[in-house]
Amino acid sequence: MNRRSLALALLFAGCADTTGAQRVTFAVEAAGIERDAAQPLSFTTDQGWTVTLTEARVALGPLYLNTLAPLEGDRRHPLRRRVEDFLLPSAYADGESHLGAGRVVGEVTTQVEVDALSPALTPVAGGGDGVAEPSLTAEAWLFNRDGALGGAAVRVAGTAHRDDLDVAFEGALVIDQSLVAAGGSIDEARKVRGIPARLTLAQGGVLRVRVDPRGWFDGADFRELTAGTARDGRYRFSPQDNVGRAFLNRARTRAVFGVTFSPTR
């Protein structure tokens, strides 16, 4: 390019000026946690149960990246918190809570079925859109899905072992009105907010989402299931038992999801 054409190019390009952050598109991949796929996924819950999963499927999506700070809780010592809050109280503007609506800087508006037992990343059709601005959190939505998930948002099966007791189990998370709090919205039941996602999107990069099922049964005591009747050798948990209640809550926590971004594929 000679000097004249360079000058013309700069002129027509508005002297390479910009109006602000760039709009970007990126690829999306999803999978379970990184591990040796040849081995079964086994973990021990806080109740001492060793759980081995044979099925763990999640209907994931849509997913949004937000400028909101993550819900990390207040880790300050209670005394320090009291002193600091007294000296520097938080200010709340009219109409705002400490978590406003934030601003979405990235999104994946398709739903994908994630096999949480498979560490192999699979691409999500359609990818994602966003702007090249820092995000702090991600918000994943769980919608029921037909097919392998059989009309549920999450489906799981496996065995739990503690002491000399083995419990084969299966169950699902179905998002319906039974999960809606009084005066609430079903959308609130679908959202998993505050997933840490400190990243900045870039054109052509790849967003990776990994689903970690190892915390799904914390707090569950599988012994209760054995009071019921097994079908095909498996006990089915439901929201009426402690396993089902634990699963409904744990499967919708931010710890289940890990979100990272790589500027290059």
């Binding site: 027509f12 508005g14 000026d17 709009r23 849509p62 009219d94 979405v104 508006t109 919205s185």
Partner: protein, 754 residues
């Protein structure tokens, strides 16, 4: 060059089929203002002699012709033969002004989006519009401060415009940020003219104009009825317009009474997401929300008197206007109605904005120009006053999708906005080749705003849910209303220096301060400066000379304008909202050449607009705008029953470079061609019009913002490209019946055949 070339042969007949105004300029009977007969005016040279002491009344009344220039960017435009170029409205005529680009993707009756010198005067707020001296911009308008809708003008009655780019004349008032556009309505083509236009998309237009023989060109009447299904989806309209004026003369006294009435109902297709269009989910000319549209009425009367004597020109004018406005637009689909703690649980109810205003507008202007001679050179000074009061009842609500039921009030205001201005303007000629024009203007802006919904969008302990305009705040009970008043004076010195001409070349330097009144929506109580200050400079050269049988008018200039607090489009409000200061600078070249049968005009403008705070480009402003207009009119070597057949043709070409959009993007370029041909024999004229001849598929408006029109499986919340499509190719046939003495002579031989 022989005498016959220096004195162009007068044209004898009106030729334009679609634009009777051209006929007016070319064929009219010999009012003094219409001589010489060439349709292209040559701008008054900077050092031209002052008007003769006993200026003929007609010469004094023609705005845009009789006003001395205030800079290289002060362009008097006689439409003339260029009315042969197809135009959809009176606003379209502004394309003849250097750097001007207009678009209107939001409906037939929506104010044009005007781009000029780096300004995106979205609905006119950066350009001061007047029609025969009556201001058009609307203060306190819910669709944007300074909203300027010129669709109430019958374009065939626009004889000329003066486009003054920049605030360099003390007579320029509120909203003259990028400049002023002053329309002059007259009808030199006397007689009666009845026209029908029909064509694409079931479009029909009937026009009747009447200019009684024996009255001046300032006396006319015109009515227009139009309807169309519009291109694509949801762009139909029906409208009716009446423009009439009587102009009388008695000695040095001229008086005018102008009356205008206008009503339109139109549908609007709104924006389309580019990803939806590319995925085939919507068509290029489709709509997401068929409830978008508008109803507008305007009724206006103006009375004006002017006294021209040897040493003075006195003018006084008063007007009154009643207007109603309602507009429903949806830029974001269902995105903004997020759950708030003071609302009962709800899903997104839709972002359809419903804006309404009812306005009473009264005003006056008066001036006295005193003329004298010093060192054998004419000098003058003018004192003037301007006053305008607008009482505007404005609201903006959000409507539930598809039901038109309001669920939220954004604002509800009872506005009283007054603007009182005084100015002093002088024209001094210290040397034969130097002219100084300028003076000082002071505008008092005064606001009294009753906010009928002062407490909203907040959480008040104990308050019931879903209350819009609360009668309580955190301190307890309070009235739901609140009054805000403010006022301030903007001092605005303005001036221009002209040096020349030498061989037709004049150098011009201009500088001035301007002001744009504040939007009452953002007005604080007792705000000290309820206006945005404007600083502008300009320097350039103007060439005016007759070259090779053509009247040539060319100019080149550099400009720089700073706005203290700008207004930028906000899709969530559907209007322009406050932004930081901005700076525009750039340059333009323009030329027009014409003779009695040929008229050519071209201009090219570069603009660079940046924000003060971070230097980022102002979005939506096209860096380059180019326009060409050309028209030709000739008698054909063909006679029928002893009458000559004349033919004319016109073409207009627009090119707009890709515009910067939010998020570091550029839009698509625009390139369109419009053309028209017509032939006339005796009383009858037949023409064909092709708008967007090449059937280019282009976007008039391009935006980047977040929206959710439900076209994806799940809500979409990140910015995406949107556009409002420009019209596809449209073909029309035009038939005109000309009646009256002038029509009876059209095409007749000047001498009886031997």
């Amino acid at each position: 060059m022989g005498p016959s070339r220096r004195t162009p042969k007068p044209l004898v007949a009106p030729w334009s089929a679609a634009a009777l105004g051209a006929a007016a300029a070319l064929s009219a009977k010999p009012a003094k203002a219409q001589t010489p007969p060439d349709p292209t005016p040559v701008t008054e040279p900077a050092t031209a002699p002052a008007p003769a002491p006993e200026a003929p009344p007609e010469e004094a009344v023609v705005r845009g012709h009789g006003t001395p220039p205030r800079g290289a960017g002060d362009v008097p435009i006689t439409v003339g033969l260029l009315s042969q170029v197809p135009r959809g409205s009176a606003g379209d005529l502004l394309r003849l002004a250097p750097g001007m680009f207009l678009s209107n993707g939001l409906g037939e009756g929506h104010a044009d989006q005007v781009f000029l010198r780096g300004f995106d005067a979205r609905s006119g707020q950066d350009l001061e519009f007047t029609v025969n001296g009556v201001p058009v911009n609307e203060p306190a308008h819910p669709h944007g401060q300074g909203y300027a809708d010129t669709h109430f003008l019958i374009p065939e009655l626009v004889e000329s415009m003066r486009v003054l780019e920049g605030p360099f004349d003390p007579r320029q008032g509120d909203f003259a940020v990028a400049g002023s556009a002053q329309y002059t309505l007259r009808m030199p083509a006397r007689g009666a003219h009845v026209q029908y236009r029909g064509g694409s998309f079931n479009t029909h237009r009937v026009l009747a104009l009447w200019g009684p023989d024996g009255e001046s060109a300032g006396t006319f009447g015109g009515v227009e009825l139009g309807s169309s299904d519009g291109y694509g989806q949801n762009r139909s309209y029906e409208r009716a317009t009446a423009n009439a004026q009587y102009e009388g003369h008695s000695g040095g006294l001229t008086w005018r009474v102008l009356a205008m009435s206008y009503g339109i109902r139109y549908r609007s297709a709104g924006v389309i997401r580019e990803d939806d269009y590319l995925a085939g989910r919507v068509g290029f000319y489709d709509t997401y929300d068929p409830t978008q549209g508008s109803e507008v009425t305007r009724h206006l009367v103006s009375a004006e008197v002017e006294s021209t004597r040897a040493a003075s020109v006195l003018r006084a004018q008063a007007w009154a206007s009643l207007r109603s406005f309602r507009l429903r637009e949806n830029f974001t689909g269902s995105l903004l109605d997020v759950q708030q703690p003071y609302q009962s649980p709800h899903a997104q109810r839709g972002d359809l904005i419903d804006q309404a205003a009812s306005t009473v507008d009264v005003g006056m202007r008066a001036s006295a120009r005193l003329r004298t001679t010093w060192r054998e050179r004419p000098q003058s000074v003018e004192f003037g006053a301007y006053a305008r009061h607008n009482a505007v009842d404005s609201t903006q609500q959000r409507l539930r999708a598809t039901t038109d039921v309001p669920y939220l009030t954004d604002f509800s205001l009872d506005n009283s906005v007054s603007n009182l201005a005084l100015y002093l303007d002088a024209e001094l000629r210290p040397l034969p080749w130097v002219v100084l024009r300028g003076g000082l203007r002071a505008d008092l802006f005064q606001y009294d705003v009753l906010d009928r919904c002062a407490v909203r969008g907040v959480t008040v302990r104990g308050a019931p849910l879903d209350q819009e305009c609360l009668s309580a705040d955190r301190a307890g009970y309070r009235s739901p209303t609140e009054r805000r008043s403010s006022g301030g004076v903007a001092w605005q010195p303005r001036g221009a220096l002209f040096v020349g001409p030498w061989k037709g070349l004049t150098a011009a330097f201009s500088a001035g301060l301007g002001a744009r009144s504040a939007d009452p929506v953002y007005l604080g109580n007792d705000q000290q400066l309820p206006f945005s200050p404007i600083t502008a400079i300009e320097g350039g050269v103007v060439f005016e000379r007759r070259v090779a049988g053509l009247n040539v008018n060319a100019r080149a200039l550099y400009y720089r304008t700073h706005v203290g607090q700008d207004l930028i489009f906000n899709e969530t409000e559907g209007r322009n909202t406050l932004a930081s200061g901005t700076l525009r600078q750039g340059a333009l070249v323009a030329a027009r050449a014409s003779n009695g049968w040929l008229d050519l005009s071209a201009h090219l403008t570069y603009a660079r607009a940046t924000f003060d705070d971070d230097g980022a480009l102002v979005p939506y402003v096209p860096p380059w705008v180019a326009r060409f207009d050309g028209a030709i009119n000739r008698p054909l070597p063909l006679r029928f029953r002893g009458r000559a057949v004349t033919a004319s043709a016109g073409v207009g070409v627009t090119w707009v470079a890709p515009r910067p959009l939010p998020y570091a993007e550029r839009g698509e370029a625009i390139f369109t061609v419009d053309a028209q041909v017509s032939a006339r024999w005796a009383y009858y004229e037949l023409g064909f019009i092709a708008q967007n001849l090449l059937d280019a598929q282009y976007a008039w408006g391009q935006y980047n913002f977040a929206s959710d029109f439900g076209s994806r499986d799940f809500a979409t919340l990140v910015p995406a490209r949107h556009f409002t499509p420009g019209p596809p190719r449209q073909l029309f046939v035009v038939f005109t019946l000309h009646l009256g003495a002038a029509a009876a002579r059209h095409g007749a031989p000047t001498e009886p055949p031997r």
